[in-house]
């Protein structure tokens, strides 16, 4: 098998400030061979999209080697096409003009351009819409234009950045099926597809190989070869086993295990608290306490029951663990003692329990509370905590984390916050 892309020892950092750097990708080794569809699977913020952009030549790695077809990547490579999550169509160009754009850039003569574009539109099933503007089309049709625009230049390698995640389930499935058909029928010269997703079922459905990404910083946690023939039946046992395996890998990688040990003993003040709404958390705990679930719940089953993909579900689960309401092991989740009594409690008791857990297990929350207690007037500016957080986190992330802890603190009624003055306090609003 021929190597299409070869990545060795790749590191990517973003500048946080003059001195500090934020590590996004660490020690990534990846080889992409001709003839395979590879999925990069991970939580949002795991750096998988950054990796895709580095391969595309849109971003430069901080260090490490990126080769495409034996040559180092120094900029957007001819022969590589990309499909975007947001479609990235020019709203002022018609479908035909959008598809022609890449050919126009290559200087292909007008007539040839037209016939090739019409052919691509035909392949992707958009005939009849040539003169439509993107805004007249549904999301699914727009993404078809995105595919046609990528396929028309006859790319060797197709990079897909969460191409289906802006679409509803049925549309996504339909488009995925068509993509596989085009790939199998060899109507195009494309020799490899690399796609980024946070949807486990999607990865299991079309990929020949799944690269599971860990986060903070992004690294390759595991690789899964998929031997199931196309078309795959998502109800079959083999498929369910595959999905189970991926869940297990995503919740218990070697580094993740180490991280959990740290998490359980002591979360630093700069721990990236997941962005979770306390009332959704309460809803989740109630659901898990329902009689139809055993004490141990299979994560894929829970995901399906709630109709949530991992980007929505994993932050919830992480929060449950942080607050000690539940424990995750081997792709299963179980409510803790305090978790099940939370499920049975009324609103006021719940708030009390939430407050206790928050103060005892989240250092940032107890720190804020301590500062407010110590101050004679029980007031403190948000700035104070932000600058403390910025020792550990980027400015944006610090704001997000503080906003999350303020949300939780307000729900638990352990402190108050005034939006206009940006002050935290122990007072109830007048």
């Amino acid at each position: 098998m021929k190597e299409l892309v070869r990545i060795r020892q790749l590191r990517k950092t973003f500048k946080k400030s003059e001195q500090q750097e934020l590590l996004v990708l660490d020690n990534v080794d990846l080889t992409l061979y001709s003839g395979e569809i590879v999925a990069l699977l991970g939580k949002s913020g795991s750096g998988k999209s950054t990796l895709l952009r580095i391969i595309a030549g849109l971003t430069k790695p901080t260090s490490g080697e990126v080769m495409y077809a034996g040559k180092p990547v120094t900029g957007p490579v001819p022969g590589v096409a990309m499909v975007f999550q947001s479609f990235a169509l020019m709203p002022w160009l018609t479908v035909l003009q959008n598809v022609e754009l890449g050919l126009e850039a290559q200087g292909v003569p007008r007539d040839e351009r037209r016939s090739r574009a019409i052919e691509a539109i035909d392949i992707i099933g958009l005939d009849g819409f040539e003169s439509a503007y993107p805004r007249e089309l549904s999301g699914g049709m727009r993404q078809r234009v995105g595919f046609a625009r990528a396929l028309v230049i006859n790319p060797d390698l197709l990079l897909l950045d969460e191409p289906f995640s802006a679409l509803d389930v049925l549309t996504a499935e339909n488009l995925r099926g068509d993509l596989i058909d085009i790939w199998e029928s060899k109507k195009t010269k494309t020799r490899g597809i690399l796609f980024v997703t946070h949807n486990i079922d999607e990865a299991a459905d079309i990929a020949d190989r799944i690269i599971v990404f860990g986060s903070d910083p992004g690294y390759i946690r595991a690789e899964v070869q998929v031997q199931l023939p196309q078309p795959r039946d998502s109800q079959s046992n083999e498929f369910r086993e595959l999905v189970d395996k991926i869940y297990r890998l995503m919740t218990t990688g070697p580094q993740e295990r180490a991280r959990r040990a740290i998490r359980e003993r002591y979360l630093g003040i700069g721990y990236r608290l997941p962005d979770v709404d306390p009332s959704i958390l309460a809803g989740l705990i109630e659901t898990m306490d329902a009689p139809e679930f055993a004490s141990k719940i299979d994560l894929p089953e829970l995901s399906e029951h709630l109709m949530m993909d991992i980007d929505d579900l994993f932050p919830l689960i992480e929060t449950l663990e942080i607050l000690g309401f539940a424990k995750v092991a081997d792709g299963d989740i179980a409510l803790s003692k305090i978790g099940s009594s939370f499920a049975k409690a009324d609103l006021l008791e719940r708030k009390k329990m939430f407050a206790d857990q928050l103060l005892s297990r989240v250092p940032l929350a107890s720190h804020i509370r301590r500062v407010l207690d110590e101050r004679p007037n029980h007031y403190a500016s948000e700035e104070r905590f932000l600058s403390r957080l910025e020792d550990h986190l980027s400015e944006k992330e610090a704001e997000r984390v503080l906003k999350t802890v303020i949300d939780w603190g307000r729900y638990a009624e352990i402190f108050a916050y005034d939006y206009n003055t940006k002050m935290l306090s122990l007072e109830n609003p007048d």
Partner: protein, 579 residues
Amino acid sequence: MSKVRFYLFSQTKSLRFINEWDLVAFIVIFGVLFTFAWGASQMTTPYALGQPIAITLDPHALPLYSARTVLRMFAALILSLLFTFTFGTWAAKSKRAEQIIIPAIDVLQSVPVLSFLAITVVGFIRLFPGSQLGPECASIFAVFTAQAWNMALGFYQSLKSIPSDLQEAADMLHLSSWQRFWRIEVPCGMSSLLWNTMMSMSASWFFVVVSEAISVAHQDIRLPGIGSYIQLAIDTRDLTAVFYAITAMLVVILIYDQLLFRPLVAWSERYNFSEFRDTRPAQSWFLDLLGRTYLLRYLSSGFAIVTNYAITMPWFRRKPKAIKEQSAKLIKIRFDWFWYAAMIAGIIASLWLLLGFIISNLDLYEIWHAAVLGSITLLRIIILLIASSILWVPVGVWIGLRPRVTQVAQPIVQFLASFPANLLFPLVVMLIVRYQLNVEIWTSPLMILGSQWYILFNVIAGTSSIPKELAYAAHNLNVRGWLWWSKLILPAIFPYYVTGAITAAGGAWNASIVAEWVTWGDTTLQATGLGAYIRASTDSGDFPRIALGTAMMCVYVLVINRLLWRPLYRIATERYQLS
């Protein structure tokens, strides 16, 4: 930001506020201006052209005059577009250029048109000795200075806000910079550019008299056009002629509005890709008409072939661009040093020139005097803003709550906003003279006559965008009277109101030059204020005072922006924005 807010002189003045770079730009620009002023004061030879062109008040001459005026405006518009495409794009693409160009435009747009004219007219006359081309160029340049800044700023802003995924898509498709400009950047900026162009056109009508009947720096030049016609009518106290001129202007504005701007707006709907679109897209009967003709189809396919050829010209095709290598970093650092050194040198030189000029030509008292005049004008503007808000907010809310009335009222208000209010000045002067009114008070309304519509306009837009559910909820809770105003309406329209007020205030500063000094025949009414100060100095060609007055006005505008409008605007967007 919703797109249904409208702006007068600069849409972007409200979005960008001054920073330390403005100070730098201020110093450098005025260093240069003062130098020019000094140069000009050395060569105040009156312009003499064998036979001065006689302007006649015969209404039959008006079509020709109108044509010449419009031609001048469009010539200036082409210049403004060129300026926009080069400097707006440059600022958006190069960080270094951005540091210079944007603050410079900020300062330049608060320099009154009259000052530009006074400083440049002699130079233009010298450039084309004995030919009418000199004054023509000066006039076109003056119109250009009324048009260019907000167009360039608006274009720059839209280039900066091109979605990153479109940029990445362009990278992946290997578009050259030339293709990128025409396929992505210009389309992205199209809506804002068009609106700003329309605003610029009304701004240039506002200064049509000043820019055609050039009576600055000991010159007395009348270029054939509507402006000179009006000036002559005012000189000879011919009310009928003023009426003719107003009619001619109305017709001209109506014609190019219907035949050019409406079709362009309707056509540019496709370039407006914001999610929150008006429910009713802009319509143009003329565009519809053209769309039905074969001629247009013929022309447009021809046009498509030509633009296609131009955009894909091999000459502009780029070689695959590599991402910048690390080794380039060292050169960059060196260049940075060079750059900052050059800038500091520029600042020191300008500062030296500026101080030298002020100290040698003016005393401290003069500066103090100008500052006091500025605060008088400021006071006027504040009172006017409050007065027009008290008048127009209730009216706007009343209209905005009634969709039927809104549909009728909005185009009318829009037209009123583009109508040069200074044409009504003679009427006001007559009233003041007849009833012996106080000049200080009664000339003031003229300052806001043209720009008050922006308050009304924005209040209407704000009221009609209040979500129906909110209004129903308030109704359901039986919220009425003052409670209804203070808890529902005023907070909801606040962001719109602020935008309108910023625009109106900006317009008022500009208008103070023509409003604090009005003439009717040999009656000249002169109020005390910075506008009258600048006007008087330009009339007498007193360059140090022109420069001082202009600089003072810039200082006032920039400081008010910083101290008042920026905080208000921030509050409006953070707290009162209905998302």
